[in-house]
Symmetry: T
Subunit: 156 residues, 12 copies
């Protein structure tokens, strides 16, 4: 099924693959949700949020790329298609149309709360399965928790 011989046992590879695929979908969805808010936000803090959201989109896209390429490197494929993201993302759905600046902050905090909780679980399950993948997930979680703080600090 894959062109790459894994350097992990089958069991460790499957455990790690599940953690990476979950992270991949969440990160792609975070980048799409971030862009959706980047475009449709309005309110007194429009400009500040517009810029902040673009930074987290860039960060989420880079993280997704690292996670997907890690999956391939351990011998499984990565699935980041629109339908897969729409169906399996753990992020809360957001409505269409314009979004006020205060609602954007609430929505993003909810999204981060969900992603971070799942990332913490993935860090645990990969600890013995593959410390190399775990190290990658730890680094991404550190970044997500920093971004989450920044939205929470804006609640005032």
């Amino acid at each position: 099924m894959s062109t790459v011989r894994s350097s992990l046992t089958d069991e460790n590879r499957d455990t790690t693959a599940k953690a990476l695929q979950g992270a991949l979908v969440d990160l792609i969805d975070l980048s799409l949700v971030g862009k959706q808010a980047h475009w449709n936000v309005y309110g007194k803090n429009f400009r500040s949020l517009h810029l902040q959201l673009d930074e987290i989109v860039l960060s989420a896209r880079n993280a997704a790329d690292l996670v997907a390429e890690r999956a391939i490197a351990i011998g499984v494929s990565a699935d980041g298609r629109a339908a897969t993201v729409a169906d399996t993302s753990s992020l809360p759905k957001i409505h269409d149309g314009t979004i006020s600046d205060t609602e954007v902050i609430s929505l993003m905090i909810e999204a981060y709360t969900s992603v971070i909780a799942n990332m913490r679980e993935r860090i645990e399950t990969t600890e013995s399965a593959d410390p190399v993948s775990q190290d990658l997930l730890i680094g991404i979680t550190a970044e997500l928790e920093k971004q989450s703080w920044m939205f929470q600090a804006e609640l005032g």
Copy 2:
């Protein structure tokens, strides 16, 4: 519904909005399909395609951003959520798992053929409705047709 007063008449705004929303969804899907192939491709031309696909993803993301912000600027919202992309994109679906280099080329040519045909229609419908939006769609189509040539040239 929108925070922006349009400089277009209601009818022209609606015509233009439809063209821009269609382009937005197609371009986001192109970026997701491009990444999917970027990760899962294999074969003798792996490296060349892996690099080429990343360039078109970057180009599609930038184009999507311009299109979405143009929609907002004429007084409508933009919808680039995962479910919207999954449901309304005009691109052919692609399967999951690894993809050989020759299949990647076929898949991308099909995707471009579909997107370009739709873009050509959007250029026509926006000509009288909003020449400013039309100019944007013309520029994006030029880029898409250039990328399409490059995949076709690789058919050998």
Copy 3:
């Protein structure tokens, strides 16, 4: 009167010249009004507006330069002197002294509404007279409408 032989007929040159001279004066005035607000603004959103205004000044200056050089290239001179700007600009006047952040937003939206309406007319009048000049005006209008959206979004 000019050192350049026009590649347009006299009538087309005069039509285009009028559109370009009008755009030049409006864009220079936009850059001066933008700087005036950049310096004298105060309020909770001081820093965000201070930065945003500097970006639009840069953009307006570049656009003015392109428009003036286009006028010269079709065989007419360009007039961007202070008195000409003060006398013929279509932008609303602004008062001197400090300006609150909310007032800055209102003033800028008024300014953009006026400039964009005039630019839309100039796009129409140059369509048959000189498509090369029209293409330049279209590009500048796209940018102006994007900047206008951003101030409107900040109304909250």
Copy 4:
């Protein structure tokens, strides 16, 4: 004959192809004539012209590249070989040997007058045939007319 399926009808493709091939040859010849003058110019304004000519060579080379790749993208080949340029360019011939600074200015103005007139025709013929190619030709013509002004302004 070509590896690329055109998104244009046969008739529109042929019309557009002729315009693009004509532009390609003129632009390559402009770059060769520009270099010829860049090397062999002498006179009080040597340095200024030497630098100015290098800038237009760079500009002409980039424009030629865009035009040729556009031709390929619509399903025709591009011909920029030395003999084709020597035989079909619409630019006036220039003599060999050293060229005084004042003669260089006259020669370049003649060259631009010829190229611009042809580009204006190509803009017209591609308007309905292919607005995407037309948009490219408009942008190049704007640049050529600006460069033409600069040589005319130096006539004193």
Copy 5:
């Protein structure tokens, strides 16, 4: 009237404010005159002056910005509106239409002679009133005198 508590006494603030407002208007007018000449100049030295004028415009714009922000920082507002510049600038007026290269040089030398004389007075009046503002005016004057030399050297 201002949002900023001045670190100067009322008298020193008023003296300094007058010097800064005068410098601001002169520098903005210098940037507008410089652009006017940048566009409309012709003659054998067109290219050299065209480039030189753009450099002094950039320099004048930066100086104007520093002066205006210094005014705000000592607790007064800054007035750089088109009408204020047209009415209170100490620069000689210039005519519209094309300007020969030799006339440009004469016009610029006149402009610099006027601005520099006024700047020298402002340096004197701010010496005891505010050495911080004086230091800024000294730096700007050094730059203006250097630019003035360069135009004088071109008289031949």
Copy 6:
């Protein structure tokens, strides 16, 4: 006591040394206070202040470095140790824990008011003692007064 022979008389050196050491301690404390607020600030303007505070920390660190090296260059040592800063800084103390955005602005304005008043005195005392050191203190004060304006403007 120092490895450097001073180019000043003993009396002038001591006067200048006192001014420089005072400035050094205030600037280091400003950088520490700025970072403290950068980390612990919260409120609607969190992001804007978070970025603004980092800029003033950078500026204060650079100024401190210039001041300390100036002290060494005139033949005295510089003391920027934590205890020296804690004991001799003229800045008001700030509490630990989170700080709301409005409180941050008040705290920073108090800090600047105190530092600027002291810097103005140092400019006076070094005028005859060492014009080279005075010139450095003038430049730093200009920057501090500009930063102070920006916080005051945010009071709204």
Copy 7:
């Protein structure tokens, strides 16, 4: 007390907070001690140490910033005020005045020995409490041990 909901349990958060606050104070003090030596060092190796010390100051400042922002991200505040650093740093005190190059090396080795021992303990205590914070501390310790080697190698 904090605006951020921690993704850690209370106990893990307190354990981690203590480790991070300790690291923060030590790193700020290292940056102040480094600057103190940077300015006051003399001796044959003055220039080499002057440059080396500036590099470690930059490194310590960056590390301090990462540690403080990590503390905020897990829901505690960070304390980097001058008095807190003076009172709770684990680095040995250094005297004021000039310092010979050989003494600088001894002082820095002592400082590093103390900081590294504490960092090793913090790595242990955060292992189960928060692997994300532990990963950050490991990275900083690697850098500190490398810098420590460089000073030891200079002992000769």
Copy 8:
């Protein structure tokens, strides 16, 4: 024997030193083998492999440098001499002379398989001995596994 006092116990230092020295030799050999193939490769995919090999050489050299400096930092010396590499590398030998593109891919996959298996062991042995060194080896292994995937994907 070393100039650096280790922050590890003797036993942990020896365990870690052995892992680092093994990694150092393998990484240097990987860089030499990579260059050998970079020069002598031929075949349809020459250019792609020529470029790909240079990237992994750069990566291997950087990794070797980090590993060697880590060894010194924990108080042991590093041995990267040609004879040591020739005698103790765990990479398979390669023949001299030209190498076809398909053979290069096979050779590199073999080399990576060998290095990665050894790196995985080194990650295990350093886990309790020195988590700081382990973290470095984890990061290098992630990079090696990614490079290994890319060669495997090219097998087609």
Copy 9:
């Protein structure tokens, strides 16, 4: 005939001039042939050749410029007009229309074989006539032989 007094004897100047003019024509033709192939190539290795050809065009253009300016510097004019290149180039002619990737490689090897043989002769004839020109030709030949190898290596 030339504006430059040669630092060579008449005989040496003529010998050198002939070598340089020959090199100039060959290098310009190489750049035109390279671009022709860059645009019209197709086949599995399209992308790799498309990029490789652009690099050699850039290299050939730079070399042509150096050679032409060397000719002027020794007191002769340079002739790089389209007709001169078409008539006197020593490169084999290539057909118009699309070119397969394998044919491109054969064509380029033929072109290099011809140019390099001529360059080797020019190196010999200029050895005593002008070692300065010879040094330039040696440097260009080194680059040409390296590019030639790369195409030969791709023959597989």
Copy 10:
């Protein structure tokens, strides 16, 4: 005698001219002496001094340029010819041949002591004659005193 009308009175111009010409010669000589030492130095600190000397040469060259252009700007010519430097520089002569590192330090300290004393006098004489020139001399002296400290610190 000069092409520039001075904005100073004749007396002030002569006083300032003398100060600037003296500074020019000293700074050029400092750059030549610095290079002489840069090339001929030897000893344990060769590399450190070799680099340090190149930095002060760069600094002295820039300062000389500013001083000479200031002289021209106030209406006098500048004399920086080799013979003028050799005859009128106030720097002590240095011998030819190799120079040990410790001797280089002594020589440079002597050179700086002489230049700085003269610069301090020039600052005084220009205070009322031309504060703009004085400001330039103050800035250069600050830099020279900093460089002087660094050589003195290396005395050990």
Copy 11:
């Protein structure tokens, strides 16, 4: 044996190949020896040598690459494997473990003396065989002799 047809006669190719292969091995060994010293050096001049050695490693690696690619370009393969370097390098062996700064200097001077003597011979043997390769060897030798001077100058 090679994929490249040589532009040299068989005899000249063999002579040149031997010179290039010898240079290649020496330069690779110089880079390995340089890194070995870069890591293991200690002493008062540690930092200066540590940096200097890294520069020569970079220089030797670049030179090796040029030499190896030149060998391929003339139709022979290049051999830079660890065992070949260990067996055929003309550099003196160095011991493992730490190396004092003064010993490093002696070792490097010995290494350079050996390499330079061999390079001088290679320059002679390639003079008639291949002036293009000779020119490359001359350039590398110039760099090696400059680096050799710098180590000798440090002997004091």
Copy 12:
């Protein structure tokens, strides 16, 4: 007398040393003469010459540095002191005071004629004595002859 053991025989070293010392003095004088003209030039072509002269000063300074370091590298010292330049330069003397643009051109052509003739001799004398030094002198002469052409071309 020197710290460097020459890789040349005594006779070859002396021959080469003389050529290099002569080149060094001429190049330093060229840089001083170039700056003198850069500052004091006036006339219609002031700006063009002012810029051109700065480029040749930069080029001459770099060449002088290469020549001086080459002298040291072959075991002799370099003498670039002001008096040595004033006494032994082969350039014609130039007068002080302002210089018209046409005179600058004549002066520079004379200077280049003299330097180039001497450089040609130095190329001959070093051919057998030291091909490495000869290669350096050839490269510098190529640059000088190019610069000489540019001044001659400006004679008109």
